[in-house]
């Protein structure tokens, strides 16, 4: 397959305009570390942001950073860390799960709305993304939002671009608001809870005034091995105070240990990256978002018919589920559970053939699909940008 590597935004615009004129579908990508996600699409050429690199603006005192879309995520993370700051939404790294190599780009993080454990309190990518520049399917350069935190000027196309998987435009520059890195991170660990009690504990913690920044539960075959994790971040004095209060609040769920330092960081990184499901592809991996207290019931329904492993993030509202890579990979059971209990499931890891024949994303109501097709046509009338990567026809 032919790979097109624009040198700059104008170059990208000409390539897209040319492809639109010839109705040549393009596969939009960064460095391809997540090529094995979404619906496989049939394209003649790839358009990559690989050469659109560099941080274009960073004002720590204004908590804002802009970078060209092909800038490695790692470079953004490091630049922020130098000034004691971080991306609020804690983007996951899919490389372990997908077994891919290369440098994930900041543009893909935006395009796929990749948010990790802190999403529960600090919002998703779409909440921190305050400005974009992109090339639409006509080959026009469009901007939306800007570099200031509060901006309600005009229709919010930034939100549309976040999580549209390159089907609406080729991002060339993204601007985020950022947060200070906390002085200290500490995690409360409660052992031995079943899923229902664990989510009750997480709900109690998240419903407390103590600013929990992550809340997860890792079940174990032997219940004693189950771990429920509640993370606090901030100034040390404040973290100490809140640890004490939360321990008191959660006493009925059993005693809690405190995890700090490298070990605790590694645990949260493993949860963020779902790396416990790393294998040689024997299992399919699903990511399901639902109301937190519905998480255990949803899992129970699926586990009635499918042999599955799972864990919870976002206080129970994000279920990571691994199913045997055979038959429908559990799709029917999972879709039945989300329609009964609310929420949506994404097939994150599966062979190409399975991602072609099964719905990767939650099927939408027809009225919503009508709007989605309209929006696709309004940005990409020739249908050349990542066609079919999310849903057939958009």
């Amino acid at each position: 397959m032919n790979t097109l590597i624009p040198r700059d935004e104008q170059d990208a615009a000409s390539i897209v305009a040319d492809a639109a004129a010839r109705r040549t579908p393009l596969n939009l990508c960064g460095n391809g570390t997540k090529a094995a996600m979404g619906r496989p699409n049939q394209t003649e050429a790839s358009l990559t942001s690989a050469a659109l690199t560099g941080i274009t603006l960073y004002e720590p005192a204004e908590m804002v950073i802009s970078a060209r879309s092909g800038t490695p995520l790692a470079e953004v993370v490091e630049s922020l860390a130098e000034k004691g700051q971080q991306l609020p939404f804690e983007p996951m790294d899919y490389r372990l799960l997908l077994g891919s190599r290369g440098e994930p780009t900041i543009g893909a993080v935006a395009a796929m709305n990749i948010s990790g454990p802190r999403r529960i309190m600090a919002g998703a990518v779409r909440d921190s993304l305050i400005g974009v520049r992109f090339v639409n399917g006509r080959g026009e350069v469009v901007k939306s939002g800007g570099r200031v935190m509060k901006n309600v000027t005009g229709l919010d196309l930034v939100k549309l671009m976040a999580g549209s998987w390159g089907t609406l435009g080729f991002l060339t520059e993204v601007t985020f608001k950022v947060l200070p890195k906390p002085e200290r991170m500490s995690t409360l660990l409660i052992r031995g809870l079943d899923d229902e009690s664990a989510v009750a504990a997480l709900s109690a913690a998240l419903g407390s005034p103590f600013d929990v920044t992550a809340a997860a539960h890792l079940p174990a075959p032997d219940r004693q091995g189950a771990r429920t994790l509640i993370r606090l971040e901030g100034f040390s004095v404040s973290v100490d105070y809140r640890l004490g209060e939360l321990r008191r609040l959660l006493k009925r769920f059993g005693g809690a240990d405190i995890l700090e330092g490298r070990g605790a960081e590694a645990v949260w990184q493993a949860l963020r990256d779902a790396s416990i499901f790393q294998d040689r592809g024997e299992r399919a991996v699903w990511r399901i978002s639902t109301a937190p207290t519905k998480g255990p019931a949803l899992v129970a329904r699926v586990a009635e018919t499918i042999e599955a492993q799972w864990f919870y993030d976002w206080g129970g509202g994000l279920v990571w589920l691994a199913t045997p890579a055979e038959g429908d990979l559990g799709a029917a059971a999972i879709r039945a559970a989300t329609s009964a209990l609310g929420g949506h499931a994404t097939l994150v890891r599966a062979p190409d053939a399975d991602r072609s024949r099964l719905d990767v994303f939650e099927p939408q109501a027809e009225a919503v699909m009508v709007l989605s097709r309209g929006i696709k046509a309004s940005l990409d009338p020739a249908g050349i940008l990542n066609p079919g990567r999310m849903y057939a026809g958009i």
Binding site: M149, K150, T153, G154, P209, A291, V368, S372, L379
Partner: protein
């Protein structure tokens, strides 16, 4: 009075009786307002300098009624101006002569509160404050708090993506909205989002939030509710120079502190508010910050100590750390009365641009110069942490031409905000007020793309069509 309304459609005006009869078949008689006296209550909103009498006002009680009304309006080519409580400061709810007003204020019930999942499901006509009141008994609240929160509806908040004084920590409406039930122009009812986080497919919820009533009518909303902090207390810092206050804001942020509120007042604003509220503000400083932090008493003490230490190098002339609820209330009283107090000494228009906070001193100087060049005064009270300015351009409406001068000064100020890297509106919305300034922030391609997306929902420009997009350069999608 420089903002033009589109020319009313004579064909629609001449069919008024027929249209009223049609609407009368869809809702109860008391839900349809037709007499001139009663319609007058809806002729303007918070931007009172502009007013237009609508064809009629209809106040439906259910999603089904909204659906029937919109389908009727689409079939009959009747324009629709959605309205919450009519508190828009940008004229977002001002009617048009050939449009009906569709008000959602009757749909104001709390449908369900789920504390475990931290979500409240409400009808869209409920007031912002009523949501917080409905969950307060469990110590929860709804975070975005526009200063009109006693009156404004969540429907209007969603339309305008409203902010408030606490968004530095808690975000604006779009960050606290989980789902909506929305009626499209053809009467179709769609559910976007829900009690879960993020959605499959395109972020239509994010697109709808802030779309100023141009994509559909929201009848129900699921919003995130949060447990309130144990306490909150402010410190007041007065500075001799504007530059010092600006640098202090930057230093607080750079130290990794996100105060829950970080408010700025300049000398004229301090003088006006102190004379009105007797809040104990220093009268000998050019700039004042109110910095509020949250937590337990111990956490608050620790944080305020840090803030005072950070401020030290900028030689604050006044440092007052609140030690009690009474002192906190006094500090906030002045700030919260800013608009009312200014209204007692002058007429004013309130602008709403956002700037990169690093530009603060320079922009404030230039705002002052702009006002002076029109022979007007200006007072500044605003959210310093996020750069959202609210210059109050003061004038005397009894003097011919002064209102126009104030509008012109306001325009210059907003253009300045864009010029330094900011935007026309941080939280009040474009409405009609800033509609004609849109080309200063967006080029033709940007605006056309927005209009194309808008056109997916309303190709015939029937939904709130006088707003947001300049009248020139529009096209049927």
């Amino acid at each position: 009075m420089s903002i033009a309304f589109p020319t009313p459609d004579e064909a629609v005006l001449s069919r008024r009786n027929e249209i009223l009869a049609g609407l009368g078949r869809l809702v109860a008689p008391e839900a349809l307002i037709v007499t001139e006296d009663e319609r007058r209550a809806f002729e303007t909103d918070g931007l009172t300098a502009y007013r237009q009498m609508p064809l009629a006002v209809v106040l439906p009680s259910s999603t089904q009624e909204v659906s029937a009304i919109l389908r009727f309006c689409r079939e009959n080519g009747v324009k629709v101006v959605p309205r919450g409580a009519g508190t828009s400061l940008s004229g977002g709810a001002i009617p048009q002569a050939d449009a009906i007003v569709l008000g959602v204020a009757k749909m104001n019930r709390v449908l369900d509160v789920d504390f475990e999942n931290r979500v409240a499901h409400v009808q869209a006509g409920i007031t912002n404050l009523a949501i917080s009141q409905a969950v307060a008994h469990e110590g929860f609240f709804y975070a975005p708090d526009p200063s009109s929160q006693l009156a404004c509806t969540i429907a209007g908040n969603i339309a305008m993506n409203s902010g408030g004084a606490h968004c530095l920590k808690y975000g604006v409406t779009t960050n606290n909205l989980l789902g909506v039930t929305m009626v499209l122009l053809d009467g179709t009812v769609v559910e976007l989002g829900g009690a879960h986080l993020d959605s499959a497919g395109y972020d239509l919820l994010g697109l709808v939030c802030g779309s100023e009533g141009q994509l559909g009518i929201v009848t129900e909303a699921s919003v995130r509710i949060l447990r309130a902090a144990e306490g909150a207390r402010p410190a007041l810092l007065g500075f001799e120079r504007v530059e010092d206050a600006g640098a202090c804001v930057a230093a607080i942020i750079a130290a990794g502190i996100i105060p829950v509120a970080l408010e700025y007042m300049d000398r004229p604003a301090i003088q006006i508010c102190e004379a009105f509220a007797h809040a104990g503000y220093p009268l000998d400083v050019d700039a004042m910050l109110i910095v509020e932090v949250e937590g337990s008493d111990q956490e608050i003490d620790d944080m305020l100590r840090r803030i005072v230490a950070i401020a030290e190098p900028f030689r604050p002339k006044t440092v007052k750390v609140s030690q009690s609820e009474a002192e906190s209330a006094a500090i906030w009283k002045g700030r919260k009365s800013a608009f009312g107090a200014t209204g007692r000494v002058a007429d004013y228009i309130c602008m709403d641009g956002t700037i990169p906070t690093g530009q603060l001193p320079q922009v404030l100087r230039r705002i002052d110069e702009i006002a002076k060049s029109y022979g007007l005064g200006v007072a500044n009270v605003f959210h310093a942490g996020d750069g959202n300015l609210h210059p109050l351009v003061m004038f005397d409406s009894s003097k011919p031409g002064e209102m126009e001068k104030a509008e012109a000064a306001g325009e210059d100020i907003l253009k300045l905000c864009v010029e330094v890297g900011g935007c026309l509106t941080g939280e009040h919305g474009v409405g009609i007020e800033k509609r004609d300034l849109m080309p200063y922030q967006f080029n033709a391609v940007d605006l056309e793309q927005q209009m194309r997306v808008r056109g997916v929902f309303d190709p015939g420009w029937l939904l709130n069509p006088a707003k947001v997009f300049p009248l020139e350069g529009r096209f049927a999608a």
